[in-house]
Symmetry: C2
Subunit: 349 residues, 2 copies
Amino acid sequence: MLLAQRQSKRLTITQIAKEAGVSTTTVSKVLNQLPGVGEQTRARIQAMIEQHDYVQNHAARHLRKGQSGLIDLVIMRLEGGYDIGIMKGVQEVLEESGHRLVISTTNEDEDIERRWLRRIQDQATDGVLLLLPYERIGIADTLMAHNIPVIAIGDRNEPTTAYPTIGSTIWLGGYTATEYLISLGHRRIGIITGPLHLTTSRARLAGYREALERANIPVDPTLICEGNYLLGDGVQQTFALLKHPDPPTAIFAGNDAQAAGVYQALYQHNIRIPDLMSVIGFDDVTYAAQMSPPLTTIHQPLVEMGKMAANLLLRLIAGQTLESNHVELSTSLVLRTSCAPPRQESLPI
Amino acid sequence: MLLAQRQSKRLTITQIAKEAGVSTTTVSKVLNQLPGVGEQTRARIQAMIEQHDYVQNHAARHLRKGQSGLIDLVIMRLEGGYDIGIMKGVQEVLEESGHRLVISTTNEDEDIERRWLRRIQDQATDGVLLLLPYERIGIADTLMAHNIPVIAIGDRNEPTTAYPTIGSTIWLGGYTATEYLISLGHRRIGIITGPLHLTTSRARLAGYREALERANIPVDPTLICEGNYLLGDGVQQTFALLKHPDPPTAIFAGNDAQAAGVYQALYQHNIRIPDLMSVIGFDDVTYAAQMSPPLTTIHQPLVEMGKMAANLLLRLIAGQTLESNHVELSTSLVLRTSCAPPRQESLPI
DNA sequence: CTGAAAGCGCTTACAG
DNA sequence: CTGAAAGCGCTTACAG
């Protein structure tokens, strides 16, 4: 019984044509909603198609038209944060356009990357979306050299690139986060940046400085720590900040992963958030709202960035030209409960 | 300058053949490492292939051989927890086998599902992996009816299914979690289960009961709460548990998302983990280690499950028969810092 | 060892 | 409005 249901044999366009007593040309036309078919004929064929649950052979179509209906999304590493938001957005528009999404992760392995590049070149992709930060961004150049449409998502490091990029207003985010903390009454605000050789890390820091300066608060360099966007950096740098003779009353974490690290460090010292220390993140990754307390953070419109990227890529594929080589969507402040006015008492350490 | 690099025109097998002065048959043979080619000829063609950086046309190959080189993974909803682990595992083996992974999310939308099903039927997939809990599992039957290899990942609800499934030892996980808490000295252990109409939720509960009974601790039904595997359920049920006249000293959360909810509820009441309350989760999702304090939880071997599923699917595709229709990988306890011996003092509420 | 030829299932000028 | 035919780039019997 389990093995029943053999072979609900797939029909070809030829068989449909034969059964309908017309040519494959005509069937193809109704399939593709092309003009030049009598109304009655069209209806009859349409009925037949539905009756048999016919669906076109993908490979044949692909071979003929030179399109695969596939879009590639290349991610360095699956993490469940930033990547998920982007994927969601991309999915959403591809679902509309009828493309399928293939995901590759290179795990920073050059071999895998090379193999991937080969596989991609057999025109088995209509276009590729690169999720930055992608160190080996040379991949984009290779793609372009092979005439494969490509768009990079995330914030580029170079001011201009040959391929289109889509990002968000990082500097403004850094500014907004800091300004918010200041508005709460904070004067001593620690910041744990990302690696400062990245433009995107420096942008956050610049926003932080700008906010401080506008509020006439001198920038204290001993409150600026450099991290690597990893949870562990958040932990370490928080410990360092806590040892400061005059510790900050708030910490701006650079990204949410580092914020999670700040949480852990503070938890160990039994320093309650936001009562004794305010914490603000950056990204608004899925788990930000799940933290205890829920993290106030700068929202990067990940889903929208994914959608925008997919839409632009589709336009590139259609041969249209883009009005701009770089677009930025705006970041925004998401208020949750990890920030409050500065503590009055001193830290219990 | 930016617009340079036009058309690094793709070569066809015919052109390679012509240039090498042989037939396409021969080129095809060396391409596919088939016998029947003179050593010198093979070497010459090989060199030519590499020199021109030739790569086969995917569509043509697909059309001829009836294989797409694509594997589909269907996820109901992208969440960044369970799904990520599975994806990683699947990716890992597909990278080896040379298949590409296409991801679809249906978001429980029947329309999307239907469209997906149509698209999948044009033999544009070699096989599909279904990520459970998939309510509308009828999709698996449809797939089977169309002779598309399918494997479901996650714990099935029915004892037997027509399609192969791969899961983990849930019951044992429930038992292990509870036993661990007991070994720490806990006698009053709250549990927040998943929806009890799911076998997989009941399995955890059964494991919990078994552990209690073995330790001669009477099961207190007022300590058993039902959730829906969502963070909010963790919050709500924890509040309920805290109102209990004789509140538990430990909470077993059913899954990590609910554990995050437990954390939030406890944080609000300023009940420190693990000092005043122990918490244990289930799944060991990516962010479990990022929580404050890092969550002790039952590890589901997500990555391994993904690998196993992909491997079995590949075997199915190759026409092999599986030795069993269901395989379970084992869960294990991951010790982090959210559990400790029961509190001596009473709760500050 | 080597190659000519058919054919996978479509789409698209082109002719009628 | 309708259809015959070529061709997309491969692979695979089959013949030599």
